[in-house]
Amino acid sequence: MTPELLAETKSELGLADATPLVTLPTEQLAWLRDAARTARDREQAALEAAVDRALDHVPWLLRGAVKRILFP
């Protein structure tokens, strides 16, 4: 396990310290880093798409105000 990989995985998981990860073999550490990254990217993409679509459902009169809040 490289210190860089350990630091990256710790950061992706938001851990305060890497102690829970030190028992992991390199390939599992890399897998966990990628899984956390994928989960975050997927959630961000879903949120952005939902925000775009939500505007279609906002009554026309309120749309400008809502847009200014959502896209400052």
Binding site: L13, T23, A35, A36
Partner: protein, 412 residues
């Protein structure tokens, strides 16, 4: 369900993966929990600025419209993230406008800590309806996550609404707070608890493992209640527990439960056919030594009939000198001394000599409690067979201490 399996399921849900994909991760239950809690917080923080803007914008909309947008556009995951950012009254009004099915989906994703006030304010009938949907889906984990935040009355209503006792067991095994778990088990009427244990006994062996893991999260009082209820049922229930422990080497979970049982229940336990198996006795002996539970196992030995105790002695014959020392040091009252000495009586002469040599080493520390225990006829009779192995001086000292303890009366 073991702690580790439960944590794998929870982490898999955060990562949106199947639990089996994570099974090979070389992390124990505590590490899995740390990783999961940290990752959940990180995912939430990553989306927080956008979510806060959505929460703010939702205040401009009529609540009916905002609820519709939440249901049809944002979906359960994003609604779960947003709910903690809304003012509690606003969140409650929106939530009550949403259908049970959508709320069941959202509850899967929500972090209960972020929605504490909302959960506490949910009407019991809505919680019961949502719980029913989750149970029908077999999603016991989600339900368990809310136990810490629901009122006792609401939990009681949910328990009453779930007809399947095994579903209650599955939910209970996922509850994280031990104090709350004890409270939850206390809300299950005794008849249903008995039915749950009977169902466990009749189900595949993995369910006894789950029940044992749950029982070991509880205090001694509840261990005793569960153990005694199991002992009151058909012997097949306890036989199934023994068979499960043998198959999965789960003696560390069985011994504390048996140790907490009443004397009557322990007597039922030692009458089981399965307990005659030398592998079962070896499992119990090994667990007693590993968990420092000789004090609890020795009274069981005292309750065994001679043939079973002879089998136990055959197992104990092969334990280390250090383990013999731990047995001698654990004996402290009539029941434990009787278990230790009556078992020693079943050893061959060389084994008896070995035990008494170790007692001789610890003689000064043990003589008072041994003399006190020897006021019991059964202990006295066992001691008579073994005492010739003690050096003369210790024999005399033991006799004098026994005499003094009996107030000068010779024990019959």
């Amino acid at each position: 369900m073991s702690d580790r399996r439960g944590e794998l399921v929870k982490l898999a849900r955060v990562l949106d993966l199947e639990p089996d994909v994570l099974a090979q991760l070389a992390l124990d239950a505590d590490s899995l929990r740390t990783v999961r809690e940290s990752l959940s917080a990180t995912l939430f923080d990553a989306s927080r600025p956008t979510l806060q803007r959505v929460a703010k914008a939702s205040k401009l909309l009529p609540n009916g419209t905002a609820a519709k947008v939440g249901e049809h556009v944002f979906g359960p995951l994003l609604c779960a993230r947003i709910v903690g950012l809304l003012a509690p009254d606003h969140a409650i009004d929106l939530t009550l406008r949403l259908p049970d099915g959508f709320l069941a989906d959202t509850s899967v994703e929500v972090d209960p800590r972020q929605a504490e006030q909302l959960i506490a304010a949910m009407p019991a009938d809505r919680v019961v309806a949502i719980a029913g949907l989750l149970v029908a889906r077999g999603d016991f984990l989600t339900l368990a996550r809310f136990v810490d935040y629901l009122s006792t009355d609401t939990i009681a209503a949910v328990i009453a609404s779930i007809p399947d006792e095994l579903a209650l067991l599955h939910i209970a095994t996922f509850v994280e707070s031990r104090a709350r778990l004890a409270e939850l088990v206390g809300l299950i009427p005794p008849a249903r608890l008995r039915a749950m244990i009977a169902a466990v006994g009749a189900a595949p062996s993995e369910l006894w493992l789950e029940a044992l893991a749950l029982a070991n999260q509880l205090d001694e009082r509840w261990k005793a209640t569960i153990g005694d209820l199991a002992a009151e049922l058909d012997p097949a229930v306890l036989e199934a527990m023994v068979a499960t422990a043998r198959k999965h080497d789960a003696w560390d979970a069985v011994l504390p439960l048996v140790a907490a049982m009443s004397a009557w229940s322990q007597a039922r336990f030692v009458e089981l056919d399965g307990v005659n198996d030398p592998a079962v006795l070896a499992g119990l002996v090994s667990a007693a030594d590993r968990l420092a539970m000789w004090r609890q196992l020795l009274p069981l030995a005292a309750r065994m009939d001679p043939p079973l105790r002879q089998r136990l002695a055959s197992v104990i014959e092969s334990v280390s000198i250090e383990a013999i020392d731990r047995i001698i040091l654990a004996a402290h009252d009539r029941a434990t001394w009787l278990g230790a000495l009556a078992t020693a009586c079943e050893l061959p002469p060389s084994g008896q000599q070995r035990v008494m040599q170790r007692l001789s080493v610890h003689f000064e520390a043990r003589v008072e409690s041994l003399a006190d225990a020897a006021q019991s006829d059964a202990v006295w009779r066992a001691l008579l067979l073994l005492v010739p192995y003690l050096p003369r001086a210790q024999r005399d000292r033991l006799a004098n201490t026994i005499l003094a303890a009996s107030g000068g009366k010779i024990v019959a």
